[in-house]
C-alpha cells in the first residue's frame, strides 16, 4: 500500500502541469475556468483537438490508438493537474471514456481503425443512447427497434436523457433487434451518425433553466451493417461492460470539479461569516471528509487488480458521489442564505453554487437512481435476492 508518487512520477506531474497551465495562460485562455458541460462547445471541440495534437487526449489508451499506455499513477496525476490548471471538462468525455474503451474491448480491428482515431483526435464527439421514455432506469425494457435492411441497420424509436446530443457527431444506441424479444435478450449495440435526417434532437429544459439533456428521435435512422459492436444480441453484455468503464480514471477528473465546488462554498462561508457557524462548520467538514474519501475510494478501485471478487469501492461509488453532491448543493444554499436564490443577471441563469443546488437533484437519478444503485449493491455486492420483475 503506497499513496505517494515516485520521483519519475513527480517529473511527469511537472510535465503535465507545464503544458496544461501554458495552454490555459495562452492559446486557450478563453475557456479557462468554465464549469458547465455545454458552454462554448465549439471552442471546446478545438481544445479536444489541441489535446490530441499533443497526445494528451487519451493517455490511458494504447499508443497504437493515440494514447500513451499511461500507468494508473500517471493517469491520476494527469487528472489532478488537468483540474488544477482550471481546464474545463471534456466535451468528448463520452467518446474518450465510454465509446473508445468499449470499441477497444468489444470492437473488431476494422471498427477500431474506423472509430478510434477520430475519437482520439477530438474529431468525433460521442453521446449515449441508453434510456428511453417509460424505461428510465430499466435498460432491459428498451423498445427502440433496429432491423437489418439492405446491408444497413434501420432504427426507429426514441431515446431520452441523451446528454450533449445536440453537440455530438455520433451516438451509440442500444436497440431491440430481435422482434418480440423481452428483457436483456435480443438487444444490440449500434454506432450511429447523429447528423442524418432520421435523427432529431430536442433539448429538455431542466429545473435549472438549462438544457443539457435531450430527447432523441429515430425515424428510419440508418447506419452501415458493420456499425454493430459485438454480435447481434450482445447489446446487454456490451452496455454492462461500458457502464463499468464509467468508474474508471474519469472519476478523478469529476472529483476535481467537486473540489472546485466545495472550495467555492468554503470561500463563500469565509466571506459571509458562516464559517464561524458551528453547524455549518460540521457540514463543511463532513463534505471535505466525504470528498477525500471519494478520492481514496477511487484510488482503491483503480488499484484493484483482483477482478474475481466484487469490488465494493466501485460498486458503491455512484451513489456515494451523487448523494454527496446533492448534500453539497443544500450546504451551498444554506451557506449563501436567501441571497443564493437571487440570479446575478436578468435571465433565469445560475452561478456555480445555486446551479449545483438545482442540477444535483438529477445526480441521484440519471445513470441509475439511488434506489437502483441500492438494489445493485445488495444484489451483486451482498448476494441478496433480486427484485422480481412484474409483468405489466
Amino acid at each position: 500500500m503506497k499513496l505517494g508518487f515516485s520521483p519519475e512520477e513527480e517529473l511527469f506531474r511537472a510535465e503535465c502541469a507545464d503544458w496544461l497551465q501554458g495552454q490555459m495562460a495562452g492559446e486557450f485562455k478563453d475557456i479557462k475556468g468554465i464549469t458547465t458541460l455545454t458552454a462554448k462547445a465549439e471552442r471546446r471541440k478545438e481544445w479536444e483537438q489541441q489535446l490530441a495534437a499533443h497526445k494528451w487526449s487519451c493517455i490511458g489508451w494504447p499508443s497504437q490508438w493515440g494514447g500513451r499506455d499511461a500507468t494508473l499513477a500517471q493517469q491520476v496525476i494527469f487528472a489532478e493537474e488537468y483540474a488544477r490548471a482550471g481546464v474545463p471538462g471534456r466535451v468528448n468525455h463520452i467518446g474518450i471514456e465510454l465509446a473508445g474503451p468499449t470499441i477497444l474491448t468489444f470492437g473488431t480491428e476494422q471498427q477500431k481503425a474506423r472509430f478510434l482515431p477520430g475519437i482520439a483526435a477530438g474529431q468525433t464527439i460521442f453521446c449515449q443512447g441508453f434510456s428511453e421514455p417509460g424505461a428510465g432506469s430499466d435498460l432491459a425494457s428498451v423498445r427502440t427497434k433496429g432491423r437489418l435492411e439492405d446491408g444497413e441497420w434501420v432504427v426507429n424509436g426514441q431515446k431520452i436523457w441523451t446528454s450533449l446530443a445536440h453537440i455530438s457527431d455520433w451516438i451509440f444506441v442500444v436497440t431491440r433487434t430481435e422482434e418480440g424479444s423481452k428483457g436483456p435478450k435480443g438487444l444490440s449495440f449500434l454506432m450511429m451518425d447523429v447528423k442524418q435526417p432520421g435523427i432529431e434532437i430536442r433539448g429538455i429544459k431542466q429545473i435549472n433553466g438549462d438544457a443539457e439533456f435531450n430527447e432523441t428521435f429515430f425515424t428510419d435512422a440508418r447506419c452501415p451493417a458493420d456499425s454493430l459492436i459485438g454480435a447481434v444480441g450482445d447489446g446487454w453484455k456490451i452496455a454492462m461492460g461500458l457502464l463499468a468503464f464509467e468508474r474508471g480514471v474519469s472519476t478523478l477528473g469529476q472529483q476535481m470539479a467537486f473540489r472546485n465546488e466545495l472550495d467555492a462554498i468554503i470561500a463563500a462561508a469565509k466571506a459571509n461569516g458562516q464559517a464561524s457557524n458551528p453547524l455549518i462548520r460540521q457540514r463543511i467538514a463532513k463534505a471535505e471528509i466525504g470528498l477525500r474519501l471519494m478520492r481514496y475510494g477511487a484510488l482503491r478501485m483503480l488499484s484493484n487488480t483482483d477482478h474475481s471478487k466484487i469490488d465494493g469501492a466501485a460498486l458503491t461509488y455512484k451513489i456515494q458521489w451523487a448523494t454527496w453532491r446533492r448534500s453539497l448543493g443544500e450546504l451551498a444554499m444554506d451557506v449563501l442564505g436567501q441571497a443564493g436564490e437571487v440570479a446575478e443577471g436578468s435571465e433565469y441563469e445560475w452561478g456555480m453554487l445555486p446551479n449545483l443546488f438545482l442540477f444535483s437533484r438529477s445526480d441521484t437519478i440519471y445513470g441509475g437512481t439511488n434506489q437502483i444503485q441500492r438494489n445493485l449493491i445488495a444484489e451483486r455486492g451482498l448476494g441478496m435476492p433480486r427484485e422480481p420483475r412484474g409483468d405489466l
Binding site: Q206, G337, Q338, A339, R361
Partner: protein
C-alpha cells in the same frame, strides 16, 4: 379541548382547497412566473369573491374576523397549489396596520388591501435609519417587493408605512429561484415614512403571522408533493411493476407521511396557541416554522427523486414545489435559527 377543525373551519378548508385547485392551475402559475410572479386575477377573485383576504382582521375594521387557524387553512391550500399570490406579505401588512395603525392609517389602507385594490408587503429591517421621519438604507430580499403598492416596515421598536411610489425609494426586482415570489431590493434615500401609531402592537403580530403563513404554506407544499407522488406511484410502471409496489419506494412515501403528520400538528398547534394567547405560542411558532419548512423541502426533494428523470424537468411541476420549499426554508429565519430559539427557551442562552 378539541384539536380538530370545527364545522365552519372544515367548510373553509374545503372551499379554499376547491378555489385554489380550480384557479391556481399550473398554466396560470407559469404565466405569472414569466412576468412579475403574481397572478393578479387570482388575487382579485381571492379578495373579492372569496373575501378571505380579511381573515385575521377584526370585523369592525372591515375584516373577516376569524383567526390564525383559518389563516393557516388558507395558506395551506395556497401552498398546495404553489399559487403565485402576495398572501404572505399581505397578511403580515394588513395585520400590522390593524394592530398598530392609527384610525387614519387603517382608514387609508385596510379596505384597499382587503379588497385587493392595493397590495402591501411587510418586512423587517435592522439596518434602515430614520432621521426626521425619513428612511435611508437598503433592504435586500423582500419577497414580492416588486409588485407592492405599500410597504410596511418593522424595525426594533419602530414601524412605518411607505408608499411604493414615494420619492427616494427605488425598487429592483430580481430574477429569483422561486419565480412565484420574486425577491426585490429596496433602496431608501431619505424616503418620507408614515410611522405606525403603535409600533409595539404591530411588532407583536408581524412575526407570528409570517411564521404561520410560511409554515402552513410549507405544509401544503409537503402534502401536495406526497399526493402527486402517490398518484405517480400508482400509474408509473418500471421493471414490469407499478413503481409503488417497490418497498423502498413505499417506505419513502411513508417517511413523507410521517413528517407531514407532525408538520400538520405543528402548524395548527401554533395557529391555535396564538389564537388562544397561550403561553406555549412562542415555542409552537418556532417549532411550526422550522419543522414544516424542513418537511416541505424533504417532501419536494423526494417528489423529484421518486419521479425519476421527469422530476427534474422544467415541464413537470415538481420544481415549482421544490423551489418554493427552499424559499420557505430560508425566509423568516432558517430552521437552525428557530431551533436555537427553542434551545434558548429550555437551556438558556448559548454561552
Amino acid at each position: 379541548m378539541h384539536f380538530a377543525f370545527t364545522e365552519e373551519q372544515a367548510m373553509i378548508a374545503e372551499t379554499v382547497k376547491q378555489f385554489f385547485t380550480e384557479n391556481a392551475t399550473s398554466l396560470r402559475t407559469r404565466a405569472a412566473m414569466a412576468t412579475d410572479g403574481i397572478d393578479r386575477a387570482l388575487w382579485a377573485s381571492f379578495c373579492a369573491e372569496l373575501g378571505l383576504a380579511g381573515i385575521g382582521i377584526a370585523e369592525e375594521l372591515g375584516g373577516a374576523g376569524l383567526g390564525m387557524v383559518e389563516l393557516a387553512i388558507v395558506a395551506e391550500a395556497a401552498g398546495g397549489q404553489v399559487a403565485a399570490l402576495p398572501l404572505l406579505g399581505h397578511a403580515m401588512a394588513a395585520r400590522a396596520i390593524a394592530a398598530g395603525g392609527s384610525a387614519a392609517q387603517q382608514g387609508d389602507w385596510l379596505s384597499k388591501l382587503l379588497s385587493g385594490e392595493a397590495i402591501a408587503v411587510c418586512e423587517g429591517s435592522h439596518s434602515l435609519t430614520c432621521t426626521d421621519g425619513k428612511l435611508s438604507g437598503t433592504m435586500d430580499c423582500v419577497p414580492h417587493g416588486g409588485i407592492a403598492d405599500l410597504f410596511v416596515i418593522v424595525a426594533p421598536g419602530q414601524a412605518w408605512l411607505v408608499r411604493a411610489d414615494a420619492p427616494g425609494l427605488s425598487v429592483t426586482s430580481h430574477v429569483t429561484m422561486d419565480q412565484t415570489r420574486p425577491l426585490a431590493t429596496l433602496q431608501f434615500d431619505g424616503v418620507a415614512a408614515d410611522a405606525l401609531a403603535d409600533p409595539a402592537a404591530a411588532l407583536a403580530v408581524v412575526p407570528q403571522t409570517g411564521w404561520i403563513v410560511t409554515a402552513a404554506e410549507a405544509l401544503g407544499v409537503a402534502q401536495a408533493s406526497l399526493d402527486l407522488t402517490v398518484g405517480y406511484a400508482k400509474e408509473r410502471v418500471q421493471f414490469g411493476r407499478a413503481i409503488g409496489s417497490f418497498q423502498a419506494y413505499k417506505h419513502r412515501l411513508a417517511d413523507m407521511m410521517i413528517e407531514i403528520e407532525q408538520a400538520r400538528s405543528a402548524v395548527y398547534w401554533a395557529a391555535c396557541a396564538v389564537d388562544e394567547g397561550a403561553e406555549e405560542a412562542a415555542i409552537a411558532l418556532h417549532s411550526a416554522k422550522s419543522f414544516a419548512a424542513d418537511t416541505a423541502f424533504m417532501c419536494a426533494g423526494n417528489m423529484i427523486q421518486l419521479h425519476g428523470g421527469i422530476g427534474f424537468t422544467w415541464e413537470h411541476d415538481a420544481h415549482l414545489y421544490f423551489k418554493r420549499a427552499r424559499a420557505l426554508q430560508s425566509m423568516l429565519g432558517h430552521g437552525d435559527w428557530h431551533r436555537e430559539q427553542v434551545a434558548t427557551m429550555i437551556l438558556g442562552a448559548a454561552a
